[in-house]
Symmetry: C2
Subunit: 113 residues, 2 copies
Amino acid sequence: MPYQDEGFGCPAEVGLHMISGKWKPRILYELFQETRRFGELRRRIPEVSRHVLTLQLRELEDDGIVKRTVFHELPPKVEYSITEFGRQFEAVLEQMVILGQQYIGSQQDSKGK
Amino acid sequence: MPYQDEGFGCPAEVGLHMISGKWKPRILYELFQETRRFGELRRRIPEVSRHVLTLQLRELEDDGIVKRTVFHELPPKVEYSITEFGRQFEAVLEQMVILGQQYIGSQQDSKGK
DNA sequence: CAGTATCCCAGTCGATACTG
DNA sequence: CAGTATCGACTGGGATACTG
């Protein structure tokens, strides 16, 4: 009887959807450590373009996972931090890292024969 | 220093990728309960087409999460079961359900004003 | 019963250029 | 510094029809 919310087939999808974005896990990894400025994120994740980084951050913000703080100074300064809600994703993502590494390990075993 | 495996920005993506598919959480929810035949899955998840169900099951199989057993009878019979590796995703997905429901709850609160 | 083969569309992501 | 605007490529998934 759960498993029927809006356009989603099951509630797990809702949670999954919030962190599904090519750079979201990587961004969250940074923000779990500490609050970062936009430019810092760019330097730490050089592979992502400004455009896409902005998009992913906006989605995370809209979903209540990340908080965006604008300082009206010159030059402009914007800080991104993890919210209390967002912090709850830390454990799941860590578990995902473990499962991902197990998978990678098993792939390499079967290759090395 | 982890965070640099193959085409993935971070190892969590590898784990995430394995269960990212529109119907995978829903399929896994079924298989966590017990082994199911293809037709059973179709009846229990009527929204997904045969085509896509097949695709998602194949991907889960390729990633070692699901085991496919073919019985060479007439009429044909195919059973899908969760592997030991796949079983490890149960806890994370349950956590995702909780987070998804929290999100849904908070959205409805802010709507109801 | 349990698939495969085709075709197509919508959403993501990347590259590039411009701006308060 | 931290964005926005625009365009184009790729891909995951849906609809439909056919098959061992």
